[in-house]
Symmetry: C2
Subunit: 325 residues, 2 copies
DNA sequence: TTGTACGCGTTATCAG
DNA sequence: CTGATAACGCGTACAA
C-alpha cells in the first residue's frame, strides 16, 4: 500500500506538502494541491491511521463500560452515546464486561495504553479509589452519583427519585409496599435499598424481608414475581419496581391471573419505556437517553480542551402519572 | 511517559530484551526478565499500543455496523458479538449508523485505514458491489443472505422462514392473513414481502394493500396496528409480525380492547423474545444470539489465518408453538 | 541468549 | 508558500 512518501515523490512535492493537503492546512498552492490530490486518487492512497494516532497521541476513540448491552436501561444510554459519538466523528468501543473486575480494569488500561482518549463508565463494580488512579491518563465519566471525585459524573439522584416514588404511593394511600430490584448488590440498587428502609422507618412500617425481590431484569422476571406474590400469605398492595420491562411483565401476568391493577395491586416503575406507555404504567422517568448524550459531551469537552477538571451533572427525574397507581 | 528505550537503559539491557519480556518470548534469562519487570514496575511503564498497531499492522479491533442499538433484534446480536470479542480479547467498535450510507462507508474506510482488522455488518443499505470493493482490505461478514460474494455471511433464510410461518397459519385454517413489518425497504423486509405475495399467489388469495403494515419497531407500534385493524371494514383473522416486541404490543392492546387471541385474531411473531414467552406468543426463533457469536468467530478465524475465503453459514429457524395461533 | 540498527507512516518543527 | 529532518514508540531481521 502506498504511503505518503510515495505520493510525495510521484506528485513532485515534499511529504510535508502532502500532509498539509491531507489535513486541509492553508498555505498550499492550488497547483500542488491538485497534483497531490490526483496522485492520491491514482494510487488509491489512504492514510494509515495508526501512524496518525502514534504521532498525535490521540485516537478519537472512547470506550464505554457496561455489564450487558441487552438490558434496556443500558441500551438506551448507549444509543444516546453512540449518536453523539457519530456526530463528533468519534469511535465508540463497547466493552460488555458483565461486572467482571478484571475486564473492567482492562478498559481503564486501554486509556493508559493510549488506545483510547477517554472512558465512560455506565455501571461498574469498581471502587472510586481504583478509578481515581486512572484519571491521570485521560478523562473518565461515570453515570453514577459518586460525589466529589477526580473523575466526572452524570447522574440522577436515585435516593431521592426512589423516595419520591414511595411517597407517591404513600400519598395515594398504599401502605403495604413491596420492592423489585435488578441486582441485589449494585451501587444504585444499594442506594435504593437504603431509601426503602429509610422510608419504612419514616412511616413507621416494619421491614418485610419477603417483600424485597431481586434479580429482576426482564419481563419474564416480572411474571415470576407475580407468582411469588400469589404464594404469600401477607401480600403487599403496591409495588415499586426498578425497570419498566419488569413492571410490564408483572402487570401482564397479573391480568392473566385476574389480579386487578391498581385495585388489587398498584405498580410504579422506572425509566419510562415504550411498553410501559402502552400499558399505562405509572413510572419515574430517569432521562436515560439524556444521560448517554451528556456523558459523551462531557468526555468530548474534556478531550478537546485537555481539561481534566471533574464535572458533575445532575439530571432531573419526574413522575409520569398514568393508571397503575 | 517512559518508553521501551528508557526501560532498557535503566534495566541495563537492550530494547529487544524488553520487547521480548513484554511479549512473553522465550530466550530471555530469568535474571534479565526480572530486572526488566522490576524497572517496568518502578517507572509505571505501559506500552503505547498505537506504536504496536503501527508496526504490526493489526489493531485487534473490529467494527460492527447497525442502524440502532436500541432495537431488540440488534442488541441481541451485539450481545453475542461482544461476548465473543471479550473472550478473544478483541475490541468491538459500535457504529450506529441509522442506515446512513455516508456513515456506513466511513466504517469500511476504517478497514482501509488500518484502524480495524475486520467489519461485521448486521444490517445495511449498502449494495454488495460497494462492499465487494473493500474485501481487499480485510475480512467482512454480513448478517444477511447475500449469496456467493467476496465477503462472508451468516444468515437465516428469511424467505423460507416467513413462508413457514404463513404455511403454519394456513394449516391452522387461517385464510385472511395480514402482515406487520419494520422498515418497508429493508433487505430482509423485501425478501419477506416477496415471500408474502408468493404465498398469496400459491393459495390463490388476493393481495390486500391495507393488510400490509409498516414501520413497526416496538410495542407501541404494535398497539397502533391494533387500532388500524379495528378501523378496517374487512379485517384479517391472522397476523404475521416481524418482531416479538411488536406482536406483544398488539396482543396487549387486543386484550385491552376485548379482542380475543387467537379466536378473533391469531398472531405469530419472530425472534423469540422474553416478552413473547410471557405472553404465550407463537413465534419463529431466528437464533439471534447465535448469529452474533458466529459472525465474530468467522471474522476472527479469517483474521488469524489471514484467509479471506468467504464463508457462508446458514442458521436454522424453528417455529415455537405456543398459544396465539 | 543478547544487542544493533532499521522500518512502520505520519505529523511537528524550523529554517528558508 | 515549501521542504528537510526529527520525532512518535515499538517489533524484528540479522549479527554476534
Amino acid at each position: 500500500m502506498a504511503n505518503i512518501k510515495e505520493i510525495a515523490r510521484m506528485a513532485g512535492v515534499s511529504v510535508t506538502t502532502v500532509s498539509r493537503v491531507l489535513n486541509n492546512h492553508p498555505y498550499v498552492s492550488e497547483t500542488k494541491r491538485t497534483a497531490v490530490l490526483n496522485t492520491i486518487e491514482k494510487l488509491n492512497y489512504t492514510r494509515n491511521m495508526n501512524a496518525v494516532h502514534l504521532i498525535t497521541g490521540r485516537t478519537h476513540a472512547i470506550a464505554v463500560i457496561i455489564p450487558n448491552i441487552n438490558i434496556f436501561y443500558f441500551s438506551v444510554i448507549i444509543e444516546g452515546l453512540a449518536q453523539e459519538a457519530l456526530l463528533a466523528q468519534y469511535r465508540l468501543i463497547l466493552c460488555q464486561t458483565d461486572y467482571r473486575h478484571e475486564e473492567e480494569l482492562k478498559v481503564l488500561e486501554m486509556l493508559r495504553n493510549k488506545e483510547i482518549d477517554g472512558v465512560v463508565i455506565v455501571s461498574t463494580r469498581m471502587s472510586s479509589e481504583v478509578i481515581d488512579e486512572y484519571t491521570a491518563y485521560g478523562p473518565i465519566v461515570i453515570c453514577q452519583d459518586r460525589g466529589e471525585r477526580r473523575f466526572s459524573s452524570v447522574y440522577i439522584e436515585h435516593y431521592s427519585a426512589f423516595r419520591s416514588g414511595l411517597q407517591y404511593l404513600h400519598d395515594k394511600g398504599y401502605e403495604q409496599i413491596g420492592y423489585c430490584e435488578g441486582r441485589q448488590h449494585g451501587s444504585s440498587s444499594s442506594i435504593r435499598q437504603i431509601a426503602f428502609s429509610d422510608f419504612l422507618s419514616a412511616t413507621g412500617q416494619p421491614f418485610q424481608e419477603e417483600w424485597m425481590m431481586y434479580n429482576c431484569m426482564n419481563e419474564e422476571d416480572g411474571g415470576r414475581v407475580l407468582h411469588q406474590l400469589l404464594k404469600m400469605k401477607n401480600r403487599p398492595n403496591a409495588l415499586i419496581i426498578s425497570g419498566d420491562h419488569v413492571a410490564a411483565g408483572l402487570i401482564i401476568e397479573a391480568w392473566k391471573n385476574g389480579i386487578r391493577i391498581p385495585e388489587d395491586l398498584a405498580v410504579i416503575g422506572f425509566d419510562d419505556q415504550p411498553i410501559g406507555r402502552l400499558l399505562g404504567l405509572t413510572t419515574i422517568d430517569n432521562q436515560l437517553p439524556e444521560m448517554g448524550v451528556t456523558a459523551f459531551r462531557i468526555i468530548y469537552d474534556q478531550i478537546q480542551n485537555n481539561d481534566s477538571h471533574p464535572v458533575h451533572r445532575k439530571l432531573e427525574y419526574r413522575i409520569i402519572e398514568r393508571s397503575t397507581v
